[in-house]
């Protein structure tokens, strides 16, 4: 995931500074996402990779790296 624009947008959707975001950054965790953050994150992924992830898939991610893996899996299968 070297896409700087995506990384910045993802950080904004998670309400953290882009420099503070890493693949090891923890996500809110199952059932703890704020709905707007979840939708914002889905929107960022959709805009940058033209794939749609389900809310339950994002909800299951515990680290940013899980989001990256989800995107890789989805783009590979498209």
């Amino acid at each position: 995931m070297q896409n700087t624009e995506f990384w910045t947008a993802l950080a904004n959707s998670l309400d953290v500074a882009p420099a503070a975001l890493s693949v090891e950054s923890a996500l809110p965790g199952k059932g703890n996402w704020e709905s707007l953050a979840l939708m914002s994150c889905m929107s960022v992924i959709n805009r940058h990779f033209n794939i749609t992830v389900k809310a339950c898939e994002l909800d299951a991610c515990s680290k940013v790296n899980d989001i990256c893996l989800l995107i890789q899996q989805r783009t590979a299968s498209n």
């Binding site: 979840l38 939708m39 959709n46 389900k54 809310a55 339950c56």
Partner: protein, 333 residues
């Protein structure tokens, strides 16, 4: 024989009582007025009175339409009532409305149970009735009182939904008005926007609490993020299918009116589809999401604001509960 159908007039009715962001912020101090506005684009919603039902709102909207003197009640030969909040499961609310509105006994009347896509489906049925020479003047009403399904403690849905009704007259004409349609359905999403005990299923169920959630099984449940995911997937596809079917380029469309779910969703879709901001009509601020009435209310407001001129092409797109979706192309007369 006039073989085309067009929209002749639209009027709408909103109940008197309102729920403002200030009232919501006072009730839920963890939310600010700014946060609610930013999240939804809504400033207030209208709430049907405790004794006010869909038949009452339908009649109020229809009477406003007849006051325009564009059509007499005796000219109506079909009544389509789209609602998910009927006065009763039986009889059909459209029958009650025929009587209360004093429409001729010769009218056909039926209810359609659809939500956010309902207005577009209603236009499609009206066009079919006209083209098959079964009717000439159809009164299409959309009306819902979702707020009666909402648990007062459920702040998420309370911020979004308002009650309202719209009355649309669709008549036979020589000029093409209501043109192409595309449709879609995916019942897998039924669980994401539902009032679980609103019908016969589970009717005798005793315990209706849902864990720690601020609702019972008699209340509206909405999984907002899943519905957002559905719209991101379905709306762009439907948009492009409709353009192709209508053999139309995005630049040829003067006004885009989508189901007014919430501003966050709408601006995301607008940006993704590269629709110019001045052609994408948003009308949520003063009434919120009125379910099947959002599109006709927005159409009425776009007309009043001069956003639509004679000869303009308009795209309508409804999507939501079901999941159900539909798009329509109009040419305005």
């Amino acid at each position: 024989m006039m073989k085309h159908a067009h929209i002749k007039v639209i009027e709408y009715y909103l109940p008197e009582a309102t729920l403002t962001n200030q009232q919501l912020a006072e009730e839920f101090p963890e939310w600010s007025i700014d946060k609610i506005e930013k999240k939804t684009g809504i400033f207030k919603r209208h709430i049907a009175a405790s004794g006010e039902y869909v038949s009452d709102m339908t009649i109020a909207a229809a009477e406003k339409l007849f006051e325009k003197n564009i059509c007499d009640k005796s000219d109506i030969d079909y009544l389509l009532l789209c609602t998910q909040c009927p006065d009763h499961l039986l009889p059909t609310t459209a029958c009650i409305v025929q009587h209360k509105l004093n429409l001729p006994k010769s009218v056909g009347a039926l209810d359609i149970n659809l939500g956010c896509s309902g207005f577009v489906y209603g236009l499609s049925l009206a066009k079919g009735l006209i083209q098959s020479n079964q009717a000439k003047n159809i009164l299409l009403i959309t009306a819902d009182t979702y707020t009666k399904f909402i648990n007062p403690k459920d702040k998420t849905v309370r911020t979004l939904f308002g009650d309202g009704a719209a009355a649309t007259l669709i008549s036979a004409t020589d000029e093409s008005g209501i043109e192409d349609f595309v449709f879609g359905t995916d019942g897998e999403g039924a669980k994401n926007l539902i009032v679980p005990l609103s019908g016969m299923k589970g009717r005798n169920q005793q315990c209706s609490e849902v864990g720690e959630e601020p609702r019972t099984l008699n209340d509206l449940y909405m999984n907002g993020p899943e519905i957002f995911s559905f719209t991101l997937e379905v709306v762009p596809k439907t948009f492009h299918e409709l353009l192709t079917k209508a053999n139309c380029h995005i630049d040829e469309i003067s006004c885009f009116i989508f189901h007014q779910a919430n501003e966050y969703m709408l601006t995301n879709l607008r940006d993704k589809l590269a629709i110019p901001e001045d052609k994408f009509f948003i009308s949520l601020k003063n009434q919120g999401n009125t379910v099947s009435s959002t599109i006709p209310i927005a159409l009425n407001q776009a007309l009043k604001q001069g956003k639509i001129q004679r000869g303009d092409r308009i795209m309508l797109l409804g999507f939501g509960v079901g999941y159900s979706w539909a798009g329509a192309m109009l040419r305005w007369h």
